[in-house]
């Protein structure tokens, strides 16, 4: 019984990982790729590690805190790394997709620069 649940979690996680990788090939822009990498693949790895935790808890009677720590760590750090990559790409001048219409960070930076010049 527990093996069916574990294999369900495993296959779900693996499919989400494949979804993230296909997105990183197919999407047109660096920023959209960052979006795909930090959401789909994080969900995939969380599903896989939840499966590992459940397997060792119910089939082997071992409660491993390190696996839970891994889940929490990946869950916390993946959005931060995505934010850092997107910010550095923006400051480095990586071009947007040509169908992009909205750029909030540029407007904010110009407003901030104007305030700094006036003061």
């Amino acid at each position: 019984m527990i093996e069916i649940i574990v294999s369900l979690f495993i296959l779900l996680g693996a499919l989400f990982m494949l979804l993230g990788s296909v997105a990183i090939i197919r999407l047109p822009d660096t920023y959209t790729r960052v979006n795909a990498a930090t959401k789909a693949s994080t969900l995939g790895v969380i599903g896989t590690m939840v499966a590992v935790f459940l397997y060792f808890l119910f089939a082997k009677d071992i409660l491993s805190g390190k696996i839970l720590l891994t889940i929490i760590f990946v869950f916390m750090t993946a959005p931060i790394s995505g934010l850092m990559i997107a910010r550095s790409a923006f400051h480095n001048g990586v071009p947007f997709w040509d169908k992009n219409k909205h750029n909030d960070l540029k407007v904010h930076l110009e407003k901030k620069q104007k305030v700094n010049q006036n003061s």
Binding site: L15, L18, S41, A51, S64, V74, M84, I85, S88
Partner: protein, 93 residues
């Protein structure tokens, strides 16, 4: 049946790592390559998790933790490097 599911999941994850590797090779800018390398690190965590169930041992838990920490630190360091700044700074632009 259970091992078949594990092996299918391992094959799917290997294909995902290969797709990320294609993006590492053809990526037009450095940021694309950094994103793809970060994704390879995250997928390696899943692969080692599968190996933990296949070998029925808990000795790979430290490997998983260190892989997660290394992927995070490497991504932060590379993104700060291509931005052209120091790794730990006080005034963010």
């Amino acid at each position: 049946m259970f091992e078949a599911a594990l092996i299918v999941a391992l094959i799917i994850m290997s294909v995902s790592v290969f797709l990320c590797f294609i993006r590492v090779v053809i990526g037009p800018s450095v940021s694309d390559r950094v994103v793809a390398l970060d994704l390879i690190g995250i997928h390696l965590i899943g692969i080692v998790g599968m190996l933990m169930i296949l070998h029925e041992s808990l000795y790979y838990v430290e490997v998983v933790l260190v892989l997660g920490i290394l992927a995070f630190i490497g991504t932060i360091a590379l993104s700060k490097f291509i931005e052209g700044g120091v790794v730990i700074d006080r005034d963010h632009r």
